[in-house]
């Protein structure tokens, strides 16, 4: 049996996304027809609840429950929002769905409007996704022309229309309250929940926010039944998950596997193993909000709850594979650098705390860290997690905590031995000339960009450690293996 089952990606690579006929030929809009003519909103919500579909944007909140809460609030106007503000480094699941199968998202949003009582939908999409926007616009135009969007859909008297709102690429705007404020024309900053958007969201009206991938699952669940959907996956995580498999793996790509598939199957069977036959070291799931999974997690079935238990999270589905050449302290620093840039600055734990965390990590990677610093990292991380306002701050220390948890020996080496085993942290490295091997050809000295190498022809050369910027040019040029890294 194939390891991958494509549900959310069922039409990607199969249909022409600019032709509505291609979508209709693959049961497109049939779920909408069934819903509008044969089912009550309550019945549809019941199907969604029984299917066990959980939000694919990261949190994993049960979709059917969210729909029900939005439905139950009394209001003259409600909204359906599709969160297409995909911002994790290395993640491109939502973009692929919107570029390959835009109609499935439109259809699901319309179904959601029928269930929750909303007549208006908004797609919040990053302006950096021009092709996805173009295809979404084409799809909306076509479905309006065919009476599948707009007024009196399929002659049933149901009205629902969709507009596009552009995000400027701020990571925090993927958080639903920040997203809503951004759509309202305000600063993209989160606010305290409750009230949840389902109760009070866009323009203070009940707003059902779901992610692109969550929506893409909906039409199939209606067409094939909740029993079919819930037969895939694990006890508490149903269906499949799309992962953007990236990093040092042979077959980089977009994979969709049933929940409960192990990391080993994803990386070694689907992904074809680690590049250049190197050793697997860790996999980062959930992007800057997630954590590292290590060798001991290779056989853990991937689902929402197991990932949290392992100190990571599902996130939106980024899966970055690392090998022995990656320094885990530097990785933690990289992700934290991202969070520091993307923090909106509204609450102090996230604004100041993450900056201090970053400075501590910088100190350690430069070889100036102490054992106290590691304790400080731990304590501060916990405080930031506990006291930040939104999901960004509450999860930003995860890469730090999980690397400390799983790779404490690397932290110790950086602090005690001033050594980086992966040779990533340059300030701890020294390029040295091996006296016995150097024949004085001057090649290294001529190629050194900062003139840090001195020595006469046919004499042993010398590298000035103060001037050296550790670019590695000498090592690359030397034909006699006379340069080593200490």
């Amino acid at each position: 049996m194939a390891k991958q089952i494509r549900i959310a990606l069922r039409n990607c690579g199969v249909i022409d996304p600019e032709k509505i006929e291609d979508y209709i030929a693959r049961d497109g809009y049939m779920a909408l027809a069934t819903v509008l003519t044969e089912l009550t909103p309550e019945a549809v919500i019941e199907i969604m609840k029984k299917s066990g579909l959980r939000g694919r944007g990261g949190g994993g909140f049960p979709a059917g429950l969210k729909w029900e809460i939005t439905r139950k609030v009394n209001a003259d106007q409600k909204y359906v929002v599709c969160n297409a503000d995909e911002g994790d480094p290395g993640a491109f699941m939502d973009r692929s769905i919107l570029e390959g199968d835009p109609h499935s998202v439109l259809e699901a949003m319309t179904i959601n409007g029928y269930c929750t009582g909303a007549s208006k939908g908004l797609v919040y999409i990053r302006a950096e996704y021009p092709l996805a926007i173009e295809r979404l616009k084409t799809a909306m135009k076509q479905s309006r022309e065919m009476g599948l969007l707009g007024e009196n859909i399929l002659g049933t008297g149901f009205n629902f229309d969709i507009e596009i709102r552009y995000g400027a690429g701020a990571f925090v705007c993927g958080e639903e309250t920040a997203l809503i404020h951004s759509m309202e024309g305000l600063r993209g900053e989160p606010t305290v929940k409750p009230p949840f958007p389902s109760v009070e969201g866009y323009l203070k009206k009940p707003t059902n926010v779901n992610n692109v991938e969550t929506f893409a699952n909906v039409p199939v669940i209606i067409n094939k039944g909740w029993e079919w959907f819930s037969s895939i996956g694990t006890e508490k995580s149903k269906g499949t998950k799309v992962f953007a498999l990236a990093g040092k793996v042979n077959n980089v790509g977009l994979v969709e596997v049933p929940m409960g598939t192990t990391l080993r199957e994803v990386i070694f069977e689907i992904g074809g193993g680690i590049q250049h036959g190197r050793e697997f070291k860790a996999a980062q799931t959930g992007g800057p909000s997630g954590g590292c999974l290590t060798k001991k997690h290779l056989d853990t079935p991937i689902d929402y709850d197991n990932l949290i238990a392992a100190g990571s999270m599902m996130g939106s589905g980024g899966l970055i594979v690392m090998d022995e050449d990656d320094c885990m302290v530097a990785i933690a620093k990289f992700y934290l650098g991202f969070t520091v840039e993307e923090s909106c600055g509204k609450c102090s734990p996230c604004r100041i705390g993450n900056k201090r965390l970053y400075e501590l990590l910088e100190k350690i990677t430069q070889g100036n860290g102490t054992m106290d610093d590691i304790d400080k990292l731990r304590n501060l991380s916990t405080v930031i997690k506990d006291t930040s306002l939104c999901g960004l701050g509450q999860s930003s220390p995860n890469p730090v905590l999980s690397t400390i948890e799983n790779f404490i020996e690397e932290y110790h080496e950086h602090v005690k031995d001033k050594k980086c085993r992966s040779r990533v942290c340059k300030s701890m490295m020294q390029y040295l000339v091996v006296d016995e091997k150097c024949i004085g050809c001057t090649l290294c000295a001529r190629n050194c960009p900062v003139n840090a190498i001195s020595g006469e022809r046919k004499q042993v050369h010398f590298i000035d450690q103060v001037k050296c910027i550790k670019c590695g040019a000498c090592l690359e040029k030397c034909k006699f293996n006379a340069i080593i890294i200490n």
Partner: protein
């Protein structure tokens, strides 16, 4: 396309489109044709699928091979982009990776015209719902 007045008309349209599409890949069907799908999502375009698409479209008609060339979304094989999928009537779809103009020419001449087995096939490793 005309406005659909009811769920019934949509279902009828769906049925007829489905039959039409199925006929495309049936061996002895008079309306069957060679189907060429070129990955044209951001990832594919970035690695050069647009010239491949143009080439396939122009060359197939220039060489009098009847085929339906279409743009599709991401097939998921980022490592092998640009990828194209060819369905010969009566056969299973075959996916090729790392396709450039030279490879496209080889695919037309050797795989499509002569039915030879050529290098560069990417195994399709998923089921679709």
């Amino acid at each position: 396309m005309a406005k659909l007045e009811s769920a019934k008309t949509l279902r009828e349209l769906g049925k007829s489109l489905k039959e039409k599409n199925a006929a495309l890949s049936q061996k002895d069907n008079p309306s069957s044709t060679i189907q060429v799908k070129v990955t044209m999502a951001t990832c594919g375009i970035a690695s050069g699928s647009r010239p491949v698409y143009d080439y396939m479209e122009q060359e197939l008609s220039k060489r009098n091979i009847s085929a339906r060339v279409s743009k599709v979304g991401c097939m998921g094989f980022c490592y092998a982009e640009p990828t194209i999928e060819i369905t010969m009537p009566g056969n299973k779809p075959v996916m090729f990776g790392f396709v450039d103009i030279k490879k496209a020419d080889e695919i037309i001449e050797r795989y499509i015209r002569k039915g030879e087995v050529i290098e560069g096939v990417i195994p399709i490793n998923y089921e679709t719902a």
